[in-house]
Amino acid sequence: MSNINGKVYAMNAITPMKPWKTLVVKAFFLLLRLVKPLQKDLINLSFIEFARWVVIPRSRFPYVGQGQVKDEMKYDYLLFFSNFNGTWNQYIDAFADVLGSKLNLIWRWSEKFPGSNPVTGFKEYIARVQFDTDYYFTAYPQATANDLKSAHIVQASLDDLVQRARSCSPAEFSTAYLNFVIQVQGHLGETGEAPIVF
């Protein structure tokens, strides 16, 4: 079991929903997908690299025949997979603080969901519906979501400077280099081993 690789934590959760409520959840997800500004809080949280919700209708668990007994459930199920930086407690706290109302709109249709506030009940619920990861890979274990965003900013700024450096005078380069340093100075944090947090 390995929920953690480098600076990323893999969370899996599954919650049951009455089938009629699935329609409401799907409509909300469609809205979130089409109206990108509604994802602003998720983007601003800035410690989620990738996350997804998957609704499995009660009779749509994958069925391949060949002796498999088909799953016919009474509930639809909502699967949630997240790849985030930091500890489980930090994540749930921030998730509940920043996204509280939106989380309620997503999970309030799941059975026994207590709401994201107070956070103690929310944490108990997540702990109950979470299941552990057996194998977890990341192509860049040394980096957080913010490191990735910063690295791309540094790369783009460097590419611009390289174009100019090949054809300008030393004095012009000096000015351009100074501007480059000002541009990237907030994006040069070191990547590497994750800090140990208890």
């Binding site: 800035s46 998957v54 965003k149 791309h152 280099y177 990547t191």
Partner: protein, 210 residues
């Protein structure tokens, strides 16, 4: 298309695990045992095949009973969950996996019902798609950069940090010359392998917490 966000694809696959009471240990345990020995760094199968940002494999034993008055129910099969965030086209990604790490795929999925093996690439892709679930909402913090582009950017970020620290207050002509040499060297370096931690850096001491 809900499975895709920008150029990143969110693939979710649930493959039913063989339920054979005569198997010892059971197939789900055999998968878990194999996964426990699989390297997670640059030797990982997902590092050897192209296009994986992050991926996980999970044995899902059952659905969760959240307590009364909810109804308690159970799955007929255990499922192997494969969740991956990968570059571009799904067929290309799956055939890339099949070409690069066929032995690992067979060792893991041979415990799943109906798995045809990777020897027949078409049947393998068809099987994976039959077990695929459509993602309802897929979020990606960075959705327009491939794995190699990201690894290159992280390498650049580290190198630029060092260059700036080492070239403070330098005379412009020399700075320009050394900058162009630095860029040439950086561009000639290979893209780091996926799954590597990057170079070990000396610990900085003397911070205010010490």
């Amino acid at each position: 298309m809900p499975n895709q966000n920008g150029s990143v694809f969110g693939l979710t696959i649930l493959s039913p695990i063989i339920d054979d009471e005569k198997a010892t240990p059971s197939h789900d345990l055999q998968i878990r045992k194999y996964l426990a020995t699989l390297p997670t760094g640059p030797e990982s199968p997902f590092a050897q095949a192209p296009g994986t940002h992050l991926a996980r494999l999970v044995v899902m034993d059952d659905v969760v009973f959240v307590g009364y008055p909810a109804i308690e129910e159970h799955l007929q099969s255990k499922y192997l969950v494969f969740e991956t965030n990968c570059d571009a086209d799904l067929d290309e990604y799956l055939s890339g996996l099949a070409k690069a790490v066929p032995d690992h795929l067979d060792a893991i999925w041979s415990h799943c019902v109906g798995y045809p093996g990777v020897a027949n690439s078409g049947a393998f892709i068809e099987y994976m798609k039959a077990c695929q679930l459509e993602t309802t909402l897929f979020f990606a913090a960075v959705n327009d950069k491939s794995v190699p582009v990201t690894l290159r950017a992280l390498q650049t970020q580290r190198a630029v940090t060092d260059f700036i620290a080492d070239h403070q207050g330098m005379e412009p002509a020399r700075l320009q010359k050394e900058f162009l040499e630095f860029v040439g060297k950086l561009e000639s370096e290979p893209v780091p392998k996926p799954g590597t931690m990057g170079p070990q850096r000396a610990l900085k001491t003397g911070g205010r917490n010490e």
